[in-house]
Structures are given as C-alpha cells and as structure tokens.
C-alpha cells in the first residue's frame, strides 16, 4: 500500500500545504488502492475517477494561486444517498438505478467549494434501511477486517472504504446508528452530530426527525477537520439550527482531569459479547487513569428505545418514500393505468426491507392504530429525551459500547428482522433524543474491532470530540488497520 493512502487527512493537509505532495499524487494513490482492493470490499457503488482527477488538478492550481483552504485537494467518499450532479445517486435501490440528481446536497456543495476531491459514491443498505449493508440492491459490502463479516450499516460502504484505506474521509448518514455502528464494526471514527447541526438538504430522506449526516475518518482530529466545513445553518433546511460553529480542530486539546463521564448501567444487555464488555471496561479504566471522574447515571427508558424507533422511523419513511412512484424521476414499470403503474413500480423497485418498513409505518399511521402506535411512540420519545436531559445535568459526557457485539457473519441475521434491529440497541437512543455521538476504536475481539461510544449534550460536538480525542491519544487502537487485503 502506498504511503499516501496510509496517512490521515490531517497529515495529507500538512504535506499538501508544504508542497511535499500534490493532490494529483494523493488522488492517484487512492484510485490505485480502490482498483487493488475494492473488488474484495465492494465499498464503492460508483468510482468518480474522471471527476476526482479534474478536482485534483483544480486543487493543485488553487494551491499554486494561494487560494487553497484546509480541505483543498483532500479525497472524500460520499454515501450514495447524498445527491451529486456529477455521479449517479441510487440510495442502493433499483428504483433509482441510473438516476443523476440535478442539484448537489448542501454538504456536497460545501465540500466541493472547499476544494475536496470526490473519489466516489459508497454502498449502503437500500434507502439507509439496515444494519449490515446487506440490503443494498447492488450486493453487500464486506468488512475489510474479515471479508466473511458485515461492515455494519447502513453506511457500511463509507466505513469500509476508510478502514481499507480507499479514502481518508467519507460522509454517511445516521438515523438509528448508521454512522456509529459501522464505524465500530470497521474500527474507524464515526460521528453523528446533533440533529440540526448539519444540513440535510439533498440527503435522500429516510426518517426526517432522526436523520443526520456525519463523517468517518481514521482519527478524531480528521473528523473535527471535516466537521468544520459541513456544519452550520442552511436556508434550504429549515431544521438546521443557527448555532455558532466553533473551530473544532482548535478545540481538541482537552484535559480529562476533573471531567465527569457518565456510565449508564442500562447499556449492558443480555447477549453482550464478552470481548466487547472487556474492551469497554478497559477503556473506562483508561478514562479514569486520565483523571476523569466516573459517575453512575441512569437512563431508565433505554429498553424502550428500540420499539419507539421501529414505530417512528418506519412511519416517517412510509411518508418520505411515497415520492418514489415512477412518475417524475427514477424507474417506472408502466401499466395501462396510473394506479397499476404505482403498484408495479414500487412493488418491483423496492427491496424486502424497504417494503417491510413502508408496511410497518403505513400500518402504524393508519386509521384506528395511529394513537396506539405512532402517538404512543412519540410520548415514549419524550421520556427517552428526559432521561438524557437529567443525566447531562450531572455529567459532561456518557461513555458506552457502540454495539453489543462485533461484526457478525454475512447472512447470519438476514432471516430474522428483529435480530438485525438489535444491532442498533445502543445507538438508537441518541437519535431519539437528537444528541451527538461518536464511535472510536477501543479494542479487538476475535480479531474484529470494538467500538466505544461517547454521547454528549445537544450541540456539544466539541465536547464529544475532545473526550474521544483525549482517549484516542492515550491508546493506539486507531493506528490498527486490517491486514488481510494486501
């Protein structure tokens, strides 16, 4: 593997600034790495080779002109649920196969204006619905640490390409854990920002009250670097919030001494893997060694979060996915009447998990069941949010495992939807409450990465990044990479 694909985005930035390397060289090294290993990993659905070369040329010119910024010339991969004008956007669904958006998502526009190089669009569970990337209509992504296991999901492609050094940075989206859980499974850093921190404009909507875009990287500093560019209010997304965006990179140095870190007993469940518990316990001891004060907190409604989510998210999805009807864009299976055209277009265009969630959500919103399911779930959501509000009166951050297990085998959970849903049991509560969460690598169990999750107060991305950075700097798990690909 080329040294240029081994380095982090922050290291690449320094080398670009000192003119030790060009963006063209950096980009070619990544394209070569993709050619060498993506046949095994299948992290990319579409490699943007020509676009990337052109952007790299432009970045090198900007460098020569003195107009370059912190991300100019840095390669980034984009989850294929973010709209792009110069590559297809499919949401890994047959219904959008071949579709190219007439506009860029706001995050894509911001990265483009910052001079980033787009390497390609990454694989995902269809419409981001899943926990393993096995629900992609275009075949699963494989975990670079063990090709027989899943990378997690739904942003499994974005996590896998960063773990496999096919990109230093990528963007994903997190509705119930879809950034943090694959980051944990693939041994990389993944951040779900606060709901409202990053514009969702141009993100194909799954569950609009839960969806949030965030980055993957191999270090916390790299996540801070890209968050500086993508965060902030956007007039095109009325739910993006006008809260000041600090310089997250400058705010990273942090002394854990005297900081209060909460531990919630509800984040231990039956069936939790021994290797995961051990790695997380060890990480908690490291935090204590660094001077953090460990505080027991209670989040009593945690056990209800999964059920709350599996009403709320499908209900919102059933409304959001009504737009995919084969009329204005996407693929149409035309019949003699409009009604028949809808039925066939959607029946043949959507995969099994998407249909399951549309059905579940439609049922929960239908006449006679709306109060018993949808309204009930929104009331329980209030209780889940209150749990966090009360806990954060006592602590600066909460530490927990990202998932109860490490990556599971491909095909091992596809027969039982509820078993698959359990993979997100520790990540869903943060989405229900809208708070930020980050996963960082904290160990290996049977050769597979274990993720450590830090949760913080709304809009305190700086807090979770800084705690995670302090932990990362005291350990060397973030320097480990999969070895089986070369």
């Amino acid at each position: 593997m080329s040294e240029l694909t081994r380095i982090t985005a922050s290291e690449a930035r320094q080398l670009l600034e000192s003119r030790a390397i060009s963006s063209a060289e950096l980009t070619e090294a990544h394209l070569e790495r993709i050619r060498a290993v993506d046949g095994k990993v299948h992290g990319y659905l579409h490699v943007m080779e020509e676009v990337a070369r052109e952007q790299a040329r432009a970045a090198d010119e900007a460098r020569a002109d003195g107009t370059a910024g912190p991300l100019t010339g840095i390669p980034v991969a984009l989850k294929d649920i973010l709209c792009t004008t110069d590559a297809p956007t499919t949401a890994a669904s047959k219904i959008l196969e071949g579709y190219t958006s007439p506009y860029d998502a706001t995050v894509v526009r911001k990265l483009r204006e910052a001079g980033c190089v787009f390497l390609g669009k990454t694989n995902t569970d269809e419409f981001a619905m899943g926990s393993s990337t096995e629900n992609s209509a275009f075949g699963p992504t494989r975990n670079p640490w063990n090709l027989d296991t899943v990378p997690g999901g739904s942003s499994g492609g974005s996590a896998a390409v960063v773990a496999a050094h096919e990109a230093p940075l990528s963007l994903g989206s997190d509705t119930g854990g879809s950034i943090r859980q694959p980051a944990g499974f693939c041994g990389v850093v993944g951040l779900k920002p606060t709901y409202g921190r990053v514009s969702r404009f141009g993100l194909i909507a799954f569950a609009s009250s839960l969806d949030q875009i965030g980055p993957f990287s191999r270090t916390v500093a790299d996540t801070a670097l890209i968050l500086n560019t993508i965060a902030g209010r956007d007039p095109a997304d009325s739910t993006s919030v006008d809260v000041e965006v600090p310089d997250y990179t400058a705010g990273l140095p942090y002394d854990l001494k005297g900081k209060r870190i909460g531990i919630a007993r509800e984040y231990t469940v039956d069936g939790m893997e021994k290797g995961v518990s051990e790695a997380v316990d060890q990480a908690i001891r490291t935090l204590a060694d660094l001077g953090a004060e460990l505080v027991d907190v209670s989040l009593p409604h945690t056990e209800y979060a999964l059920a709350t989510y599996y009403i709320t998210a499908p209900a919102e999805a059933s409304a959001n996915l009504a737009r995919f009807d084969g009329i204005k864009y996407g693929n149409r299976k035309e019949e003699s009447t409009l009604q028949e055209t809808y039925l066939r277009t959607r029946g043949e265009g959507f995969g099994a998990e998407v249909k399951r969630r549309i059905m579940l959500g439609t049922y929960a919103l239908s006449s006679g069941y709306y109060d018993a399911y949808y309204v009930k779930a929104q009331k329980v959501r209030t209780l889940i949010k209150r749990d966090f509000d009360e806990a954060f009166e006592k602590v600066d951050a909460i530490v927990a495992p990202t998932s109860p297990t490490v990556a599971f085998g491909i095909g091992s959970r596809t027969d039982d939807p509820y078993q698959m849903y359990l993979a997100d049991v520790f990540t869903i509560p943060a989405n229900m409450a809208g708070i930020p969460g980050i996963s960082v690598p904290c160990g290996l169990s049977d050769g597979l990465p274990v993720g450590l999750q830090f949760l913080g107060k709304p809009f305190d991305e700086q807090g979770v990044l800084s705690v995670a950075h302090a932990y990362e700097q005291a350990t060397d798990w973030h320097t480990k990479s999969p070895t089986g690909l070369d």
Binding site: P235, M359, P417
Partner: protein, 103 residues
C-alpha cells in the same frame, strides 16, 4: 398482536405497494412478530406525557420573499421516465381498479 392476510392487503393498498401472495404471507408473519416486540411500550403509563415529534424547538421558519432561480423546466422534465413537449407523460389517471375507492 397478529395481522391477517386481509390486514396486509389493506395496508399494501394504502401504501401503493404491489406485493405477491408469497410476500404478503411473509409480511403477515414478520409484521406480527415485530408488533409483538413493540407491545413493550404498553408497559409505560404515558397518559400525562406530551409527545415529541421532533427534538428541536422550531416554530414557523420565515424568510424574505425574494425571487431566486429554480431548476429549469427542461432539466426537471428530462428526469421523468416519459415526457412530452416539456410535460411529464403518465398513463390514464381515471379508470384504474382501486379497492380503497378513489384513484
């Protein structure tokens, strides 16, 4: 909580999803099982709790009423599977079979 095949047909029709017999039978069993798990919410007394539909408090978001360019018509209509003279072409709207009583 157990769904019948008729329930599944009704919901599929509301969702405009064309499903095969086999898919409906699988969904009947899977949705019944998922709804069973969801019954756990009934352990909680939520009579006095107000619902949270979304977590940030936003009221009406206003902006100045200024004219700005939008996507050109020819770009948007070119995305349609079938278009004609700058319009999106669709099959007959009326006359379809619709058991829910309105096409």
């Amino acid at each position: 909580m157990s769904l019948s095949l008729k329930d599944v047909q009704h919901v599929a029709s509301l969702a405009r999803l064309g499903l095969t017999e086999e898919e409906m039978e699988t969904l009947r069993d899977q949705l019944s099982s998922i709804l069973e798990h969801i019954q756990v919410l009934n352990q909680l007394d939520t009579d006095a709790i107000s619902p949270t539909a979304q977590v940030i408090e936003v009221d009406n978001v206003m902006r100045d009423d200024t004219v700005a360019p939008s996507l050109p018509q020819e770009v948007v209509t070119s995305l349609a599977p079938r278009s004609h003279n700058g319009f999106i072409a669709v099959p007959a709207v009326l006359g379809g079979a619709d058991e829910e009583g309105g096409a």
